[in-house]
Symmetry: C2
Subunit: 111 residues, 2 copies
Amino acid sequence: MNNRYQTFAKLFKTLADPNRLKIIDILSCGEKCACDILEEFQFTQPTLSHHMKVLIDSGLVNSRKQGLWHFYRLNPERSHQVKQFLTELISETDACICHEQAVCSSLEQVR
Amino acid sequence: MNNRYQTFAKLFKTLADPNRLKIIDILSCGEKCACDILEEFQFTQPTLSHHMKVLIDSGLVNSRKQGLWHFYRLNPERSHQVKQFLTELISETDACICHEQAVCSSLEQVR
DNA sequence: ATTATATATAGATAATAATCTATGTAAGGG
DNA sequence: CCCTTACATAGATTATTATCTATATATAAT
């Protein structure tokens, strides 16, 4: 299995939660600390901590510690990679340069 | 909760599986029937049927029946919507037009 | 009609993940 | 040194999902 599929499947899994999408949306306004983010949600602090860990592990978010506060910010480069992957994934060129070349070339195109 | 978060979280969930990413990649070469797709995987036919159902329900893939064969093809418009959402989600403008306006404007930006 | 082929559906199982409560840790204030 | 604050970690529970075997359905061929 092409490793890119697994890599980006993990990234999409990170994005596959409405709460994490809202967190990303909030962070698009700029750096925020956990306590500020938490105010916008109904769930508990450990749940937010879990989501932030998932986001950081994915590379979509970076963090910085300053005294008691942990500040989080977006890593736009990472989400750009996601968009780039999607673009490549669905691109249909004349030459059919999908990443599973063997698949496409081995199949008769007309039934 | 902003309904767009839930809508697109579901779409990302569809994309959060390496096998389905590979299926999409294969379909980027053009329309294929299930039996041709199945050849590229180790899992069983019901498993492929499950994945195709997920892809169709998400709107990322359309299908067509012709005799015994079911043909599947990409709906590029849907994946374009995903990219568009990602672009909007992370966009940081001077005016901070995130979808959670109240969040951004209510927070002091400097600590 | 019977058989073969292509795909879907049902139901079970195992793995993953979202959430909670309880507790730990680290930093600052008095 | 003790308390408070901000956040993380541990462990349990519940829900979801990927996969399987077994079976159904629909179409074509003989």
